[in-house]
Amino acid sequence: MTDIVTTPALPPETASRSLFQLAALRFRRNRAAMAGCVMLVLIAMFSFLGPHFISHSYDQVFPSYVSVPPSFEPRPDASSLQDVIEGVAGRARVDLKEFAVEGQTFTATVTSDKPIDPRATRYFDRANEFDNTQVVATENDGKTLKLTGSVSREYFLFGTDSNGRDLMARVMLGGQISIAVGLLASLVSLSIGVLYGATSGYIGGRIDNVMMRFVEILYSLPFVFLVVVLVVFFGRSFILIFLVIGAVEWLDMARIVRGQTLALKRREFIGAAQALGLTDWQIIRRHIIPNTIGPVVVFVTVVVPKVILLESFLSFLGLGVQAPLTSWGALIAEGANNIQSAPWLLIFPAIFFVLTLFSLNFAGDGLRDALDPKDR
């Protein structure tokens, strides 16, 4: 069936590429996978760089803006500012003649029967919305004042939560925590799994038997639940959460690496290395590890979303990182509870969460196709 092999004398000079380079080439050709990668980079940038570009911190509470829906318009909007300044003018016992808001500054013209004390500006500053009110011109013997100052107008593109915190800042923080937990926990499971699997596979025999039996027993422990127990009983710090998740997710990794090591041990190039007189350590370093990287990398792309899911599951149950810190899972849980009154609380974190998982999935599939050993 597969005997379509063309045998050129020597492949053309320019085409010498390692398997990794070939894999990278194939990966780049896979549009879904590339789109996934770009999306992941964008989401990571949003989560980690985003906070430097917005003025609200994740724990800043805006009592006047509780559960406001998302909008591109700044808050308060022009009409409500009008109401506010009229109230201020009333308190300052002046008449408001003109009022205009442009971006973050306002200009107002106030008049009175008597000359106005310039200290009246403090009435303006007293309102939450206005700041740095200054007199720019005095006209009509001080009976007319032209004022200018800054308006503290807030943008809530994603709306705010029921505590009056900016959801965008919260989603960014949630992204940081979810991504960090995902990567760190995968790293933990990777290190344990590779070490355990490679040891078990390489030593083989009875020790391999015992080590794998242990893994089997651990498999029959109800794991998600064990994580819950661990987190509840040992506390809910960030470090603990990723350590615990990593500590329960290494089993598959260990099995995969062991399988790979066993398969590699039977390959003839390992035999050739032994015949050349390489030591065990040289064989592991020069031959086994480089050849297990492919499947391991692919598996990591499976573990990262799994870990993120597990963390968000914990958060959903209220066992994740503690407030005011948050993660996507915690935000989604909050949104699910307010689904009728404030659906945006569910929609925004869910979009980011699902997009991340989707992208990871596509990137992982692409990686798997790119590293497919069939092309050996």
Partner: protein, 307 residues
């Protein structure tokens, strides 16, 4: 066959024992206890409580007592639901979880296998792409997102179905939680089936069947499907165990009185006995389903007959 089952059940005993032991000590070495409330109890009350539940005894004694009681089916009283034993709580909740879970399992298995087979037979078609996209959604979107979204759409906006609760147990109440529960597993079944079906269609013996002019139906159903079912059957064990022992998330979202909630409630409240009871329950389910799957596997594949 019978000796195989007996041997497997015998080998389950040490596994179960190790699971119980690990869980027991893990829990006890953690700080805190079931009666450490936010407002501390008076020392005398505390001491009485501890004595009532034998928590004042050395850990080793407690462990031995627990094990010897557990062997007789006595998993002790729940510390939080004070009027109930753990066995009662689980006995009450389990039928709900099993009913919902078995519906979900059926839905996931039948839907997943059908969708996966269709996708495999029309590989790279629009249908294939659609099925795989939906199943990617199913795999990646967790049920704590799916649940609320389903509620929002079908219960709140369209008002077709009730938003939650067991109700009278009729299908109307079960549809949404069942779908939320089944969707991730359905997606896994679909992907597994598609993958193994495509692989099966490329095997040499399928080529043989085609070369001998067997009708396409026979080639696909008799030869390819049976081979493709092997990995699907393997996945049945974890899927069944996960679905039938209830899901904390789905039961919380849809307020279903199953056992799934106890895992979390027990853990949060440090209800040692309730936690241990649920651990044993899950472990038994896992072991039993693994055994069932091994037997099924043997029926499907003559190369692994157990005799």
């Amino acid at each position: 066959m019978i000796s195989f089952v007996l041997r497997r059940l015998a080998s389950a005993v040490p596994t179960l024992f190790i699971v119980v032991t690990i869980s027991f000590f893990l829990m006890r070495f953690a700080p805190g206890g079931p009666f450490n409330l936010e407002r501390p109890l008076p020392p005398q009350t505390m001491a009485n409580l501890m004595a009532t539940y034998h928590l004042d005894q050395p850990l080793w004694n407690q462990y031995l007592t627990y094990i010897s009681n557990a062997v007789t089916g006595d998993f002790g009283p729940s510390y939080i639901y004070k009027d109930n034993t753990v066995a009662e709580l689980i006995g009450k909740g389990l039928p709900y979880s099993i009913q919902l879970g078995s519906y979900a399992l059926l839905l996931a298995l039948i839907g997943g296998v059908l969708a996966g087979t269709l996708a495999a037979l029309r590989q790279n078609s629009v249908l294939d792409f659609l099925i795989m996209s939906v199943s990617t959604v199913g795999v990646t979107v967790p049920n704590f997102v799916v649940g609320p979204v389903l509620t929002l759409v079908f219960a709140v906006v369209l008002a077709w179905l009730p938003a939650g609760s067991w109700g009278d147990g009729s299908l109307r109440f079960l549809i949404l939680p069942m779908v939320a529960l089944a969707l991730p597993q359905l997606a896994v079944f679909a992907r597994l089936t598609r993958g193994s079906m495509i692989e099966a269609m490329h095997t040499d013996h399928i080529r043989t069947a085609r070369a001998y002019g067997l009708p396409p139906r026979v080639v696909v159903v008799t030869h390819a499907m049976r081979a493709a079912m092997l990995p699907v059957v393997s996945y049945l064990a974890p899927a069944a165990a996960a679905l039938l022992t209830g899901s904390a998330v789905v039961e919380t979202i849809f307020t279903i009185p199953g056992v799934g909630r106890y895992f979390v409630l027990g853990a949060i409240n440090r209800d040692y006995t309730l936690v241990m009871g649920t651990v044993v329950l899950i472990a038994i389910f896992v072991i039993v389903f693994n055994l069932v799957v091994d037997i099924l596997y043997g029926l499907l594949d003559p190369r692994v007959r157990h005799d």
